[in-house]
Symmetry: none
Subunit: 206 residues, 3 copies
């Protein structure tokens, strides 16, 4: 069931389901005091529809969830209340989206097309716990279960990379423009280990 590497590939989630997802296997333990998560995403789901963009859950906690909320804001949550950003809307065209956070200061920002949002201070001192599961396409309300179609992702995801540190502005911009930057040490799209479940297509990126 386990596959390796998605270089120049796109994940297409063609329909709303409560059973289609992609599980990602990290290259290293996800005990994190900082991270950069980058991906490219396109969706035609209506603005008022909640959408899960990234879910990392351990048995008791939503460790790191990224959402597009009902009110159009983009948010992320680590073990409890989240923090919310007004960003340009997701659309049928691909948006390059990164999220950076570091525990020391709590500084957290989204980066859209290489441009940083206003910093917010979110959970300084917090740590993300290891030994959970990363899902794309669904939000598990418990570890590996409790999926809901009305929160599912429909559209395309590609080029997901994750680092256990905060990338500089110039590296995030370089990634946005498709230039080479240091490979993600948690997830590297070119060599990512993943498992498909349900109706998800792996399509050439062209």
């Amino acid at each position: 069931m386990s596959n390796l590497g998605l270089r120049n590939k796109v994940l297409v989630f063609p329909f709303e389901t409560d059973f289609s997802y992609v599980a990602l296997v990290p290259q290293k333990d996800m005990a994190l005091q900082a991270f950069t998560l980058c991906l490219r995403v396109a969706t035609e789901l209506p603005e008022e529809r909640q959408i899960i963009l990234f879910a990392y859950r351990t048995s008791d906690y939503d460790e790191l969830n990224v959402w597009r909320e009902k009110d159009g804001r983009v948010s992320f949550y680590m073990s409890g209340d989240g923090t919310f950003y007004h960003l340009p809307p997701l659309s049928t065209f691909r948006t390059s989206l990164c999220l950076t956070w570091e525990s020391r200061t709590g500084l957290a920002a989204f980066w859209v097309e290489g441009k940083r949002s206003t910093y917010q201070v979110y959970k300084p001192g917090h740590s993300i716990r290891p030994k959970g599961t990363v899902l794309l396409g669904q939000d598990p309300d418990k570890h590996l279960g409790g999926l809901e179609a009305t929160q599912s992702f429909v559209g395309e995801l590609t080029d997901l990379n994750m680092w256990d540190f905060v990338l500089s502005r110039s590296l995030i911009q370089a990634w946005h423009y498709g230039h080479k930057i240091p490979k993600g040490n948690i997830f590297d799209w070119a060599t990512i280990k993943y498992e498909l479940s349900g109706n998800v297509m792996v399509v050439d990126d062209d």
Copy 2:
């Protein structure tokens, strides 16, 4: 009545009518398992007005119709229910619009100004039937008849090209920017065979 070639020409449909259209004669049989259709279009019709952009009909079926719908979405239909896309609105400025579809996977996308919409999966395994008629400006509800002014096109169309395969991203972008790419093997604007009916003007493109 039949004319040849529209290089550097624009078709202007100045008024709302139920009798103005341009019939296009394909270079080859339109039995299709895949296609790329590109054109440039400008209209000032209000957002809530249905507009036919391209109609290919055989005696019993709307084989391939492209619409701007009442709700502003752009859609296409092959022999029955259609599929719908949220694209940037058509406007008084020219929009470059392509549509690609292949039967094998069903992957279907619009391309606006060279940027691809999110893929939708639409009628995998389907074939478009040959021996019909292509009209610009009107939607025939039966073969060569049943035209309605409230669905007609008003505005400008130019540079329509069609291929019986899916063009790559780089070729679609090259077409968008006006660079030379392989000629359409179904329709090639520079040498296209067409018949004018009613009030349609052929105008120099500048």
Copy 3:
């Protein structure tokens, strides 16, 4: 308490408070018959929220206040009624904003991303009085007091510079693009003297 220099630093005001501000100490007396004030600002405060962007107050007067108003316009006030401009909305991404005014003609304009607004004629013959206090983050209703959370600034401010004359268009554009231009002779961000109060973070600009 007094600090020196903010080269490559950003002031982050993470929360709405009535006690967080940064006081700026000018390099010279602020008796002014003309000025250029430039800064970069990002905020996620809702459009209908009043926001103080810059406040210079003497004991009896608001000498020079710059606001984002409840109706979304950007305004400035010198000792009484203000003048109002329709500018592109402030957002989560950084906006480069300058303000120029000269007493001789009264010509006053905002510059957004290097582009000038329409001129307004505002208080020709007026002079700004010296010996006041400049605050970022709060609007003092009296000298050094009377702060209100609902007018406070939340977001990021950086690269604030001020000159006692009107910069040319080409210099303002050069500043916008981050090129070197003559240092502000009232405030120069690289060497600015400032005092932090309450919850304001000084963060590396990256």
